[in-house]
Symmetry: C3
């Protein structure tokens, strides 16, 4: 693997390889000193053209636990604002000896462009509405461990509920869940679905009550207030009434069913119940697993095969 | 010790323990390579909801000298601005595997709230007008070393001069100085004292000339220009005439008396003399000691009892 | 060497010493693990009062490869905004135990002021229109390696083209190129030359066509749009016609001639040709060499003579 720009460029075998490697990383993270020398001397640069403290911290924690050096390139303080082209910026930073770029950008496709301009590895940390492959990986890893499914998701039914249209999480997760064998149902109003779902390995429902009592995983997406202003939903109250996870609905979940959310949550909107009171909530585990999965990705891209055995000195 | 939210939760024994430990850290800081592996693999996150470069740098220096990994969470670039609750933010960052949060917030009590939401240690780096316990520790350590008082401050007279009402430094320092045995006098106009001093182990004066020639420590607080706009003082000139340290007053200090200031100074207002020309000024030592004291706090919270002996590799 | 504030305070012998040391650093940078323990336990603070992501990242990469701890002091979040004097800020940060300050400031001379206030080493990373000594070093190192001139630049002809008047790069580079023995020609309109060139070891041309086919190095400066608004050039198109590197002119360069640029480039203005299509372009090497040269500077200032041999652990 040279880059991780989209989840499908991994292939199913690559997906399994990274999930297996994440197991190893999770074991490191449970040690008293959760640090290994695997990426000593490697430099990982966070290139965040859009704010995302949680994703940036997760990648930086992952890089530091592998002993890589980390640097942050924040667009607000960069020459990009002086009219320098993105390409010149990338080539300049790369020439300092960068091994990996972790890229967040509001435009779809930027990670692909960047990977054309540099020999460094490029990890997509979210591009527009397009892809967020490490989110899909951490979500698969969370389902795999929480439901004890190391060999795949055959027979599992996963519903993704909410604003599919504007969600890079949904795009990446649909592919990954389906590739591992799950049946995926999208639950959303027509206005929050993409214009076409041709080729998506999914079925569709228009009311959360159609799926809530039969799924193994209920994956809730963040509902942004902007969608109301854009008249895509009549009101947040209306949205909650048809698509929110309320206490009543939570009671109708199967006993073993997981509740997931990529964060940040909009409490009282899609999460109309306190996740701390949901026995099936694995929202905190998703965050914890994010570090292990990103360690796996960085090691797979930059590691030399050794360096996981010892302890960082 | 699980957290350091207020100075009084340390107790007198805890105060002495941390000051003794600070001696050890100061010795490390005098080495050619001032770094030990004590907190290798630990992650310390600076959560600064209010700017304070000096305090943040001091904590980060302390953490790095103990070989901890450090990360900064700056509120201006965080999801807190997207309406995510503080609690969700803390729980999310904590789930990545944080060992300690260093918290600065403009609202009193936030460090206590945060400590309810996470298993990580919480260090209060200043909450509103309330508390700033590491400032009190570094000030005690500075008095202890500069006046050679390892066993306590019995018989010492310390005056704290200025805007007591709005000062978290004053609140923390009064408790700490008194707990170590010092007599503490607050020197301020009525408008800059709290509405009630009931229970404060202090006496009060309303003119710096009442104390300047008899104290062992003259502790000057920063006078903020805002107080003039709020009509709490008639003018800065008037303030200086009654509460400022002028060259004349500096001449009247006892030969052994210390002059202290938590910084940043307002030169020409409370400091109407150049501290570089005051033989008793220990203002620079306060900053230097701040690193040792914060190393002691972080080690006391996160250390395993070993790791101070060797040299960081 | 105690500081690096200007290129001429190095002297010719110092210049050669740092270029020789850069060779050693470049060798480290080619290793699989490009990291040595040379500055373990040292703290390097970036004090950037003016944005420059590329320069800051280059210094931080250099510091980390020598195992120093790095911290960034960004003026926008500092007490400098609360009216604290620059001197108090520096003395405070220095008191925490800083070994070197890397300073970028829009006012000429600030690095000299700072060096009066602290025992830490001061490296000028660009002060106003005045000096940028590490840029001159990396440019000399690039010429030296690309043209294989380890003993000096006797017989080389270097043209610096563009806005000399407002360029700290030009001021530092003229001295360094000339000190190493090169003949230097400045190519600029009268409006973009300093009022007097008395004492500058240069000759002057007013059209790029006067030099393009005879120089060994063509050093292009960034042309800022502001100059047009200040009426120093009639239009950018006019500027390009007399001073830009166009494809035609690129064809007239000698086969061995180098094209250099300090970045960021203004494509279509001074660089009216794609540097990727110029065989003589060493613009990317300049950036790569910047890390080696800054490692040499930091090691020369802070190193103890050992620590380059082993590998960082």
């Amino acid at each position: 693997m040279k880059h991780l720009r989209s989840i499908d460029e991994l292939g199913v075998a690559g997906l399994h390889r990274l999930l297996d490697l994440s197991d190893h990383m999770a074991e490191i993270n449970r040690r008293p000193v959760p640090k290994v020398p695997a990426l000593r001397g490697k430099t990982v640069v966070s290139l965040f053209f859009e704010d995302s403290t949680r994703t940036r911290l997760s990648f930086e924690t992952a890089a530091k636990r592998l002993s890589a050096d980390t640097m942050t390139f924040s667009v607000s303080t960069s020459s990009v604002n002086k009219g320098e082209s993105l390409r010149d910026t990338i080539e300049t930073v790369a020439a300092m000896g960068v091994d990996a770029f972790v890229v967040r950008h509001k435009s779809s496709g930027v990670p692909w462009q960047i990977s054309n301009w540099t020999d460094a590895a490029v990890v997509n940390a979210g591009d527009g509405w397009h892809e967020h492959p490490t989110q899909a990986l951490l979500d698969c890893y969370t389902v795999r461990t929480a439901l004890n499914r190391p060999d795949g998701f055959n027979g599992l039914h996963i519903a993704i509920v909410g604003d599919i249209k504007h969600s890079r999480v949904a795009r990446s997760n649909v592919w990954a869940f389906a590739a591992l064998g799950a049946r995926v149902t999208l639950v959303a109003p027509h206005t929050l679905l993409p214009p076409s779902l041709e080729g998506w390995p999914v079925d569709v429902a228009h009311h959360i009550d159609d799926v809530v009592d039969r799924v193994d995983v209920l994956y809730m997406l963040r509902m942004q207030r902007e969608r109301m202003h854009e008249a895509l939903v009549p009101s947040l109250r209306e949205y909650t009434s048809r698509f929110g996870l309320t206490p009543d609905r939570a009671d109708r979940l199967q006993a073993h069913a997981l509740v997931m959310h990529p964060g940040p949550m909009n409490r009282g909107v899609e999460m109309a119940v306190d996740p701390a009171e949901l026995p099936g909530s694995v929202i905190t585990q998703q965050v914890t697993n994010g570090v292990s999965v990103r360690m796996a990705v960085l090691f797979d891209l930059l590691g030399s095969g050794s360096g996981l055995a010892g302890e960082a000195s």
